[in-house]
Every structure is written in structure tokens, then in C-alpha cells.
């Protein structure tokens, strides 16, 4: 039987309350949202805390997806299923629905949250790749107020983020830019598994020419990483198969996979290449109104 080590359970009723508890209880406390990453780690005793602060009641405060000005704001407690089913989100960023369809399984998606996924900072986690691809930023709140960090600054290493011991990730902001679309491609060993490799792409076209493009990969390095070299190569060019092949080759070169039970380094580089091409191709097809 897998059971976590003993801890005291607290339930937060608001963001301020949660931050107050974190300040009072210090580093021996951790917040739990959906719990589908944290509780398994605690059951295996890979993580032990004296206090667990349940923030599920904050769903009423932090469970939302809304367009505000030139960005979409998603509350950190928004659950996978809500992300999957959101028309606002899929219209602006179809990459979210692509990814959510292949994250864990429907029952797990009823519990897991966007904020929890990002804060877990697992190098294979799909939403981290999605948010990196979309150049999202993270709003982190502490007792002194809020601060906004880019995805690049959010990740500080495997399972490490910029969120301090007495802080809470409360919102993810994704810039809305006209003329773009996005897609996500993942290869997994079986339904619901972690990625062998995933690739997300976002492309913006102006008069048939790529004004900007971004690619984010998962499961091929210490943290999900955007690849600036791909953006530089694609900008100002007409989208063609040759260009996608160049981008794929760059993805394979720039990533840093390791051999494990999911595959060899060579296989993962092959996937990074192929999946990047597919995600770019699909993004461009979507901009051109081809429903794919």
C-alpha cells in the first residue's frame, strides 16, 4: 500500500488565506491542487511535507478562461477538462485542445489543473510546452503583491520554478496576436502516457509570409524549451515543406534528450524533427482555414 508520510491538512479558502498559511508554515508546507502529481510523489516518499494546504476551494476564484484586451487569461486552478472544452481557448489557440486530448485520461483531467501542471515543472509535461510555444507569462502572487515572469524565467530546472515558498501561481497570460494559429503533436507509448517527445508550434502569417513562429518541445531536456533559432530561421519566409524540414532539423539539433525506457536519444531526435514539421505544417494549414 502506498501512503504518504503523516502531515497536517489545511484548507485554504482564498488566495490571501493560502499565502498567509504558506508564510506562517514556511518551507515545510506545500499547496495541493488536483494532486495527481504531488500525491503520487508523496506516496512514493519522494516528497514529504509537514503541512499540505488544499487549494481546491480556490477554483471559484482561480478557475476561469477569459479574453482581456490583447491576451487570454487563464486562472491557475482551471482544470484540464475545462481547458479541453473551452471554445474561447480553442478558437485562439487550437494547440490547447490538441494537447489536452492527449494529457493523461478523462478522469485524471477532471482533477489536474493548469497551475499544478506548470508548478510541477516536469520536463515531459505537455502544458509547459504549450505555454512556452505561446510565449505565455505567469502571474505569481505573494504577500507583497504580484509579479509577472516569462516561461523562460519560470522554469529554473527540473521540478523547480520561480514560485517562492510563500507564493502562489495564480494566472497564466497568453498574448493574442492576429493572423496566427498553433498545433501540438505528441508521440506516446499508450493512451494517457507521458510523451516520448512532443512538439508545439505557433505561426503568424502576414501576406503569406511568416511574421513570427515559435516551437516548444517537451521530454527532450531538463525543462521544456523554446527554440529561438527556429523562430529566426522561419521569420520573413514563405511557409514551404523545405522550410519546415529546416526547422525540424534545428529542433533535433537543439534538443537534449536522454535514453530511457521511452526511447533512445536517436529516436527522440528523430521525433523532435518529425513532430516539429507536423506541428508547423498543421499551424499554417489552420491559418489558411483548412480545418485540421
Amino acid at each position: 500500500m502506498q501512503v504518504p508520510a503523516p502531515f497536517d491538512y489545511e484548507r485554504a479558502t482564498s488566495v490571501d488565506h493560502a499565502i498567509g498559511l504558506l508564510e506562517r508554515l514556511g518551507e515545510s508546507a506545500r499547496v495541493v491542487a488536483g494532486g495527481h502529481s504531488l500525491l503520487p510523489m508523496m506516496k512514493l516518499r519522494l516528497a514529504n511535507f509537514e503541512y499540505l494546504i488544499d487549494i481546491n476551494d480556490l477554483h471559484s476564484e482561480l478557475g476561469y478562461i477569459r479574453a482581456e484586451g490583447n491576451e487570454i487569461r487563464v486562472g491557475a486552478m482551471t482544470r484540464h477538462r475545462e481547458l479541453l472544452e473551452s471554445d474561447v481557448l480553442v478558437e485562439a489557440f487550437p494547440i490547447f485542445r490538441d494537447a489536452e486530448r492527449v494529457i493523461a485520461d478523462p478522469v485524471v483531467r477532471n482533477r489536474g489543473t493548469l497551475g499544478g501542471s506548470l508548478c510541477q515543472a516536469d520536463p515531459s509535461e505537455d502544458l509547459s510546452a504549450v505555454c512556452t510555444t505561446l510565449d505565455a507569462s505567469c502571474v505569481i502572487q505573494g504577500s507583497g503583491g504580484t509579479r509577472v515572469v516569462s516561461m523562460e524565467d519560470f522554469y529554473q530546472g527540473p521540478y523547480e520554478t520561480a514560485v517562492g515558498a510563500a507564493e502562489l501561481l495564480i494566472e497564466i497570460r497568453i498574448p493574442l496576436r492576429p493572423g496566427g494559429s498553433s498545433a501540438y503533436e505528441k508521440v506516446e507509448r499508450r493512451a494517457g502516457d507521458w510523451a516520448v517527445v512532443s512538439s508545439g508550434a505557433a505561426v503568424w502569417l502576414q501576406d503569406g509570409v511568416i511574421s513570427d513562429a515559435r516551437v516548444g518541445l517537451a521530454a527532450v531536456g531538463p525543462n521544456t524549451a523554446g527554440i529561438p533559432a527556429i523562430s529566426e530561421t522561419l521569420r520573413g519566409k514563405t511557409p514551404t515543406e523545405e522550410l519546415f524540414a529546416q526547422a525540424g532539423a534545428l529542433a533535433a539539433e537543439s534538443c537534449n534528450p536522454s535514453t530511457d525506457m521511452r526511447g533512445s536519444i536517436e529516436y527522440k531526435r528523430h521525433l523532435a524533427n518529425e513532430l516539429t514539421q507536423r506541428a508547423l505544417r498543421r499551424s499554417v494549414a489552420r491559418i489558411n482555414g483548412q480545418g485540421v
Binding site: V3, P6, V107, N110
Partner: protein, 161 residues
């Protein structure tokens, strides 16, 4: 600590340890052994119950987290001696062999049919994709759920008292 919640419409209040998982609370403390305890890693889905109307894997939810919530287990499917159409479907179409995955499968199936009364085979397969039948009896499970879809009569358990 004390936890109070409703289970199959009845209020319960129990003294628990903070680390107690919902599956063990239901089975060991309340004696509701219909919910099965399988892989313990949120992979197999034998432990699926409803919390506030949505299927969850109870091996990965703390009993404390269920405080104040509405929990439904497989024992809540049958009403006044009448089987839920999902249960009837599993009987009619041989939806179980060893029966270990059955409670979780039926709870997920009931939730699916409440949201989508006429699911395709593909939609059923997606809905149960987080659940494992080690007898590999998926074809008959899907058939059982389809049977239930065409023989609906019962009121959803979520709207029962």
C-alpha cells in the same frame, strides 16, 4: 482531524488522518468495498468514484479533500432494488469477467451517459481510456455501455437524494 461529507446521499462524519486516501476511507472506514483498490498510481481506474458529480480516481484524492463534497460510489447506482441501466447492461452484455475493474468502469460509464446519452463506440473508448480491464474484455464493456445508452430509464445518480 474530522471530515464531513455526503456519501451516496448520506451524511457521514469521521475522524481520519490527514494522509488517508479516499479509496481507503470508503473501503475500510465506511465498509463500502464496492470501490476497488487497484494500482494505487491513478493508472487503472478501479477506484473511480464521483466527487461533486465528476469521476475521480480515489487512490489519488485525500479523504480530507472530499470534506464538504458529494461522493457517489458504485453502491449508489442501484436504487430501491432496481439496477441502473449501466449495471443491467454489464449483465446483459457480459461486461465483466473477473469483475475487478467493473465498479470504476460503471461509474465512468454513468457519468459519460449523463453528459452524452448517445455516445459512439469511439466516445465510449475515450471515456474509459484511463481504466484498465486486465481480462481485456473491452469489447463487451463498450457493448454494455451501448446497451445502457439504448435502455435509459433511471434518474442520474447525481440528481438523486
Amino acid at each position: 482531524m474530522q471530515v464531513s461529507l455526503t456519501v451516496n446521499g448520506e451524511e457521514v462524519s469521521e475522524e481520519i488522518e490527514g494522509r488517508l486516501l479516499l479509496v481507503h476511507f470508503l473501503r475500510d472506514q465506511l465498509g463500502l468495498t464496492g470501490t476497488h483498490w487497484g494500482c494505487d498510481t491513478s493508472n487503472c481506474g478501479a477506484c473511480v468514484v464521483w466527487m461533486d458529480g465528476e469521476p475521480v480516481k480515489s487512490c489519488t484524492v485525500l479523504a480530507a479533500m472530499a470534506g464538504g463534497r458529494d461522493v457517489r460510489t458504485v453502491e449508489g447506482l442501484e436504487q430501491d432494488g432496481e439496477l441502473d441501466p449501466v449495471q443491467q447492461g454489464f449483465m446483459e452484455c457480459h461486461g465483466l469477467q473477473c469483475g475487478f475493474c467493473t465498479p470504476g468502469m460503471m461509474m465512468t460509464a454513468r457519468a459519460l451517459l449523463d453528459r452524452n446519452p448517445d455516445p459512439t463506440e469511439q466516445e465510449i473508448r475515450e471515456a474509459i481510456s484511463g481504466q484498465i480491464c486486465r481480462c481485456t474484455g473491452y469489447a463487451t464493456i463498450v457493448r454494455s455501455i451501448r446497451w445502457a445508452a439504448t435502455h435509459e430509464s433511471a434518474v442520474s445518480i447525481g440528481s438523486r437524494p
